[in-house]
Amino acid sequence: MNFFVDALPLYLNGARYTLLITVGGCALAFAIAMAVGILGSTRSAALRALASVYVEVFRGVAALVLMFWLFYAMPLLTGYRLEPVFAAILALGLNIGAYGAENVRGAIKAVPRSQYEATVALNLSWTQRMRLVVLPQAWAQMLPTFGNLVIELMKGSAVVSLIAVSDITFVAQQLRTFTGETVLAFAAALVTYFVIAQVFVALMRLAERSANRRLGRIPARPRRRAKPAGAAAKGGAA
C-alpha cells in the first residue's frame, strides 16, 4: 500500500504529460483528418491522389518510427531540434490523422446522394453544401471511429517515454529501477491508462448521443459497445 501512496503524485504528474500529448495530438490529428478527408472526397482527381498519398504514407509508418525520425534524424537535416513533447505530438498527430482522414472521407461518402441533390436544387455552393449539410450529417458517422482513434492515440503516447518525456510509462520505468517493485510499477501504470481511456470513452459516447439526437435519431436503447477501442485504427490499414 505504501508504494501507491508514495507513487501516486508521480503517476499523476506523468498523467499530465500523457494528457498533454493526447490532447495536442488529437487536435492536430483532427485538423489533418478533416482537411485530408475533405480533399479525398472532392471531384478533382489530383486532390484525391494527394490525399491518398498522405494517407498511405503516414499510415504505413508507425508513430514510433516517425517520432524517432523527427527527433533524431530531422535535426541533422534542418539543424533545428524539436522539443521531445512536440516531436511526439507531431508524430502521433500525423499518424492518427491519416486514419482519421479515411474516416472523414468514408463518412462524407456515406451521406446519401439524395441530400447532395437537394443542395443542388437549392443552388448551394460547394462550400455551403459541405458546411451546412454534408459535414453536419457526416459528423455523427465519424464520431465512433474518432473515439477509437482518441484511445489509440492516448495509448500511442507511451512511446514518448523512449525519448525521455516523463509520462506515465516513464514514471513506471523509473519506479521499477529505483524501487524494484516491477509488478506494482507497471500494474499501476496500466490501471492509470485504463482509467484515462474509460473517461475518454464516456465523453465520446456523450458526444455521439448528442450528435444522433441532433439528426433526429434517438437511440431506442443504449447501444452496446459497438467496436473495440482502437479497432478502426489498428484494423484500418486497408
Binding site: F68, V159, T169, A197
Partner: protein
C-alpha cells in the same frame, strides 16, 4: 549535412538482419494472436456468463492500455516469477496477447454473421460441440473475416518497432544503434521509415483486393 548514400549501403546488411527479426516477431506474434483470439471468442460465446464477462473485461483492459507498457510488463515481470524469456519471446507474447484482444472481436463479428439457421441446424442434427464449431460455424465465420484479420497483420507489423524498447534487435534497434555509433541518424531512420512504407503500403493494397474478393460472399 547531406544524405550519405554510401553509408546506407554499408548499413544495409545490419538493417536487413534487423528486418529479419521484425518479420519473425510479426509472424510468430500473429500466430499467437490468431489462436488466442479464436479461443477468447469461443469462450465468450460458449462459457458461463461470469467467465465470459471476466474475459470480456480483461480484453477491454488490454485494448485500452499501451502495448509498450504491456511489453515491459511481460519482459520484466515474468522473469521475476521464474520464467526466463529471451527478449524476442517476450515480444512475441506481448504482441500476440495484445492483438488477440483485437482478433477476438473480429472472430466474434464473424460468428455473429453466421445465420441463426446454421446454429439451429446443428442443434437439430444434435452434433457434438466440437463438430459444431469445426465443421459448421468456424469455416463460415472465418471466411468472411479474412480481410479484417489481414489488416491486423499489417497493423502488428507496424507495431514491431516497439520491441526495440525491450532490446529485441529488430529494425529500429539496429537503426538506432548504427545511427548512434556513426551519428548517421538521418540515413538510418529514413531508411527504416521507407522500409516500413515499402512493406505496408503494398500489403494494404493486397488486403483491399482480398476484401473485394470476399465481400461478395
Amino acid at each position: 549535412m547531406t544524405f550519405d548514400w554510401g553509408f546506407v549501403g554499408e548499413a544495409m546488411p545490419d538493417l536487413l538482419t534487423g528486418l529479419r527479426y521484425t518479420v519473425q516477431a510479426t509472424v510468430l506474434g500473429y500466430a499467437v494472436a490468431l489462436v488466442v483470439g479464436l479461443l477468447v471468442a469461443i469462450v465468450r460465446r460458449g462459457a458461463p456468463p461470469l467467465v465470459a464477462g471476466t474475459v470480456h473485461w480483461v480484453m477491454e483492459f488490454i485494448r485500452c492500455t499501451p502495448l509498450l507498457v504491456q511489453l515491459f510488463f511481460v519482459f520484466y515481470v515474468l522473469p521475476g516469477v521464474g520464467i526466463e524469456l529471451s527478449p524476442l519471446t517476450a515480444g512475441v507474447i506481448g504482441l500476440g496477447l495484445h492483438y488477440a484482444a483485437y482478433t477476438a472481436e473480429v472472430y466474434r463479428s464473424g460468428m455473429e454473421g453466421v445465420p441463426r439457421g446454421q446454429w439451429e441446424a446443428t442443434r437439430a442434427l444434435s452434433l457434438p460441440a466440437h463438430r459444431v464449431w469445426l465443421a459448421v460455424i468456424l469455416p463460415q465465420a472465418i471466411r468472411r473475416v479474412i480481410p479484417a484479420l489481414g489488416n491486423y497483420l499489417i497493423a502488428m507489423f507496424k507495431d514491431t518497432p516497439l520491441l526495440f524498447a525491450i532490446t529485441v534487435p529488430e529494425l529500429l534497434f539496429e537503426a538506432n544503434q548504427l545511427g548512434g555509433q556513426y551519428f548517421k541518424y538521418l540515413e538510418t531512420m529514413t531508411v527504416v521509415g521507407l522500409l516500413f512504407v515499402v512493406v505496408s503500403v503494398p500489403s494494404a493494397i493486397a488486403i483491399r483486393l482480398l476484401e473485394r474478393r470476399y465481400a461478395a460472399v
